[in-house]
């Protein structure tokens, strides 16, 4: 709390000073003071041990023994999220896109808005802050819609993500005992675990906020139906991808300035994005892999060919679309292996086994009986998501034209499914650790 209060105080004060100050040099200095404070806190709490350990390893490699000790640091919950939210405020005030608030309490409420404090969506001050000033009337339809979205979020988390987690954990934690086909299945389960977990949290946060009359930005837009990686990144963790686009990629020059600059900027954004997730080389490699997937599209100017809805007006995708969706999904799943692995050698062993002859065996692992049930749940879930793919969230419009008994039975059934399939033990959200 004190950390949150401290960084918020700095950003609030810098915002006021930036408004008054006219000298461009001084304004830049103040902005850097704000960014420096936020990044220093982030660096210390999240990356200190990582850097120390890697420096020691690097020096030892060259035969130089240095004594630097890692510290027992507890990562404050939500640090990466509220730091980025707070930084966007400073930058937007600096760019004069936003008038700074003079109300400290409102600013604190913006930074620590409870539904999205610990795992996003990372809101922009330009979008969320003004909502604290306007008088909010209780809107029945909005409140009901919010609850519906939160309900879907709970389903994603408690039915899909938590059940996938059981199998993904089993396979990833004992990966040396399993064949390539089993490991690939483990990666598949992890793909749905992380999607259900993170997008489920976002749905809950957005839904609860809407209940209170606040609109948060959309964070996921059915990413697993993406037809290429560029589209995937427009649909996955949107609040973070757009943050990097607006505050890092564009200031670096974006795709203006030649091929080399575009390659450099794309690489930087994906590497930083990977590193944002955690102090581990696995995240860096995950970012790098995504950059490699993305690069051909951006260089051939084909990164914006899928900016419209998926199969609009059709019940099923065309064969070509289906093939693109499957290929994109396979690439994403492959990258998730690095995201989930304990370390790089674990990830490489995992991938090595997948690309061995053991891939051509029937998957076998502890709990495979339940895994079939989980697979059936995933298929049902994907069908519902497909039906609602062009809405705000999958069940946004589902059954809305029907009568109340039908709608209530539908909500009741979702709650019943949660009661029937949820795990008994507590399973925290994955993104709480970031």
């Amino acid at each position: 709390m004190s950390l949150l209060f401290f960084s918020s105080s700095v950003d609030y004060w810098v915002g006021l000073v930036l408004e008054r100050e006219q000298s461009p040099r001084k304004r830049k200095l103040y902005l850097w003071a704000s960014l420096g404070t936020n990044l220093a806190l982030l660096m210390f709490f999240k990356y200190y041990n990582f850097f120390v350990d890697n420096f020691v390893t690097a020096f030892t490699f060259f035969g130089i023994n240095i004594s630097a000790r890692s510290l027992n640091i507890i990562l404050p919950v939500g640090l990466s999220f509220y730091t980025f939210q707070s930084m966007s405020y400073g930058i937007d005030v600096y760019r004069r896109k936003l008038k700074p608030t003079k109300d400290f309490v409102t600013f604190l409420a913006f930074v620590s808005f409870f539904p999205q404090l610990v795992a996003g969506p990372i809101e922009r001050a330009t979008h969320l802050l003004p909502q604290f000033y306007i008088k909010r009337n209780f809107d029945y339809d909005k409140a009901v819609d919010g609850l519906r979205q939160a309900l879907w979020g709970f389903f994603k988390k408690m039915v899909i993500a938590d059940n996938c987690a059981v199998h993904a954990d089993m396979i990833f934690n004992h990966s040396s005992e399993y064949t390539g086909s089993t490991l690939l299945l483990g990666a598949f389960f992890f793909a749905f675990q992380i999607y259900g977990d993170f997008s489920g949290y976002s749905d809950i946060a957005i839904g609860i906020s809407r209940l209170f009359g606040f609109d948060l930005m959309k964070n996921f837009n059915f990413p697993y139906f993406s037809r290429d990686i560029a589209e995937f990144w427009r649909r996955w963790h949107i609040s973070l991808s757009t943050w990097f686009r607006d505050y890092l990629y564009y200031p670096l020059g974006g795709s203006r300035g030649g091929v080399l600059k575009t390659i450099r900027n794309t690489l930087i954004v994906f590497l930083v994005s990977g590193f944002w997730h955690g102090a581990n080389w696995t995240f860096v490699v995950w970012g790098l892999l995504n950059a490699l997937y993305f690069m051909p599209l951006v260089l051939s100017h084909r990164n914006r060919i899928h900016i419209h809805g998926i199969s609009p007006g059709r019940n099923l995708p065309t064969f070509r679309e289906f093939l693109s969706i499957v290929c994109t999904f396979v690439l994403v799943v492959f990258a998730w292996i690095f995201f989930r692995a304990q370390d790089l050698s674990h990830a490489l062993d995992f991938v090595g086994e997948i690309f061995s002859s053991s891939f051509f065996t029937i998957p076998q692992f502890e709990g495979q009986y339940q895994a079939v049930t989980t697979l059936i749940l995933i298929v049902l879930f994907v069908c519902v998501e497909w039906l609602g793919r062009n809405e705000e969230y999958a069940i946004g419009k589902l059954g809305l034209t029907r009568g109340k008994p039908y709608r209530w039975a539908f909500y009741g059934f979702i709650l019943f499914m949660i009661g029937m399939f949820m795990q008994s033990n507590e399973t925290p959200f994955i993104y709480f650790q970031f």
Binding site: F138, D139, A409, M420
Partner: protein
């Protein structure tokens, strides 16, 4: 006027919202209860992981409960987990002139033991209660055993209290399902087989396992963490037994040296149990062989049971536990 109309509007929409929320909650309650019953009857076990309803599934609890209803005035009542119903062979006690009943059940934790005592202690009317306290049961949440109890014993206010205390969705579902089955008499004709080929139920509550030997495997070291809820239930149950003027002995049945040695804070557990009353840890009394006397890392085989029970009866007499 505009201000008033805003308040009026706000009140109307909020009232509508609250009214619909309450109505939906009522609707959902009925819907959920109905769905649990239909789902439980129609769906195969694969699609109801939180509605397992283990009727006659393990430990012969159904048969044991049927038998306890016709049991009274015994010398000894055994309580506890599988270590109790697989450790105290009532036939050996009978041979030594001691009548007994074994009310142990799979993973039975103090929360369930307390319920069994409330239901059957006065009826069985034992002179002595021997409670096998396997540390894992005092560490755990007790859900496995609670499910066993719900499916194989009657459902009454104690069952609802237990579910409320354990706060587990699986328990709630099984309780609702079991409640309906009981009302509709669906389990009335259920007959549990007395043997599954490996395990045989012996009249008096003991379960005999065909002779097998454990292949010794190393076990990772661990520390015991006591669940305060279980400790509280244990204390209350002991109070209940004593309040009826009965004696109680707490016993830790022997496990393999490999298993016992893997626990780093056994002394903490011993001192905690000693504070509850008379307590004996047979891991420190008997020197058994990990392979010859056990069929897995913590269950005695029949050869081990005979040694353990003989020694226990000897102690019973020496210490005059059975007054």
């Amino acid at each position: 006027m505009r201000h008033l109309s805003f308040i009026f509007n706000f009140e109307m929409t909020m009232k509508k919202f609250l009214k619909h929320t309450i109505l939906f909650a009522l609707f959902f309650l009925i819907f959920y209860i109905g769905m649990v019953f239909v789902w439980g009857v129609v769906m195969p076990p694969r699609f109801r992981p939180n509605l397992t309803y283990p009727l006659g599934a393990h430990g012969f609890m159904h048969t044991r409960i049927q038998e306890v209803k016709n049991t009274n005035n015994v010398d000894i009542l055994f309580l506890g987990s599988s270590h109790a119903y697989r450790g105290f062979d009532t036939r050996i006690f009978e041979e030594k002139g001691l009548s007994s009943f074994n009310l142990g059940s799979s993973a039975q934790s103090p929360i369930e033991s307390q319920i069994l005592l409330k239901r059957y202690l006065s009826k069985i009317n034992p002179k002595l209660v021997v409670w096998e306290v396997f540390p894992a049961t005092i560490e755990g949440d007790g859900v496995e055993s609670a499910l066993d109890l719900i499916a194989n014993d009657k459902i009454d206010y104690l069952s609802f209290g237990m579910a409320w205390e354990l706060k587990n969705i699986s328990l709630y579902n099984n309780l609702l399902f079991g409640f309906f089955r009981e009302i509709l008499g669906m389990d009335r004709d259920f007959e549990e087989p007395k043997s599954d080929g490996t395990n045989t139920y012996i009249s008096g509550g003991y379960v005999e396992r065909s002779l097998e030997y454990w292949h010794v495997k190393p076990m990772p070291a661990k520390r015991l963490t006591i669940n305060p809820k279980q400790l509280e239930a244990l204390e209350k149950a002991i109070e209940l037994i004593k309040s009826q003027g009965r004696d109680i002995v707490l016993v830790q049945a022997p496990t393999t040296a490999t298993q016992y040695g893997s626990i780093l804070n056994n002394t903490m557990f011993d001192s905690l149990m000693s504070r509850q009353g008379y307590y004996k840890n047979y891991n420190q009394i008997l020197a058994l062989n990990d392979s010859l006397h056990f069929y897995d890392s913590h269950h005695l085989n029949q050869a081990g049971v005979e040694i353990f029970d003989t020694k226990f009866i000897e102690d019973l007499k020496t210490n005059n536990w059975l007054k």
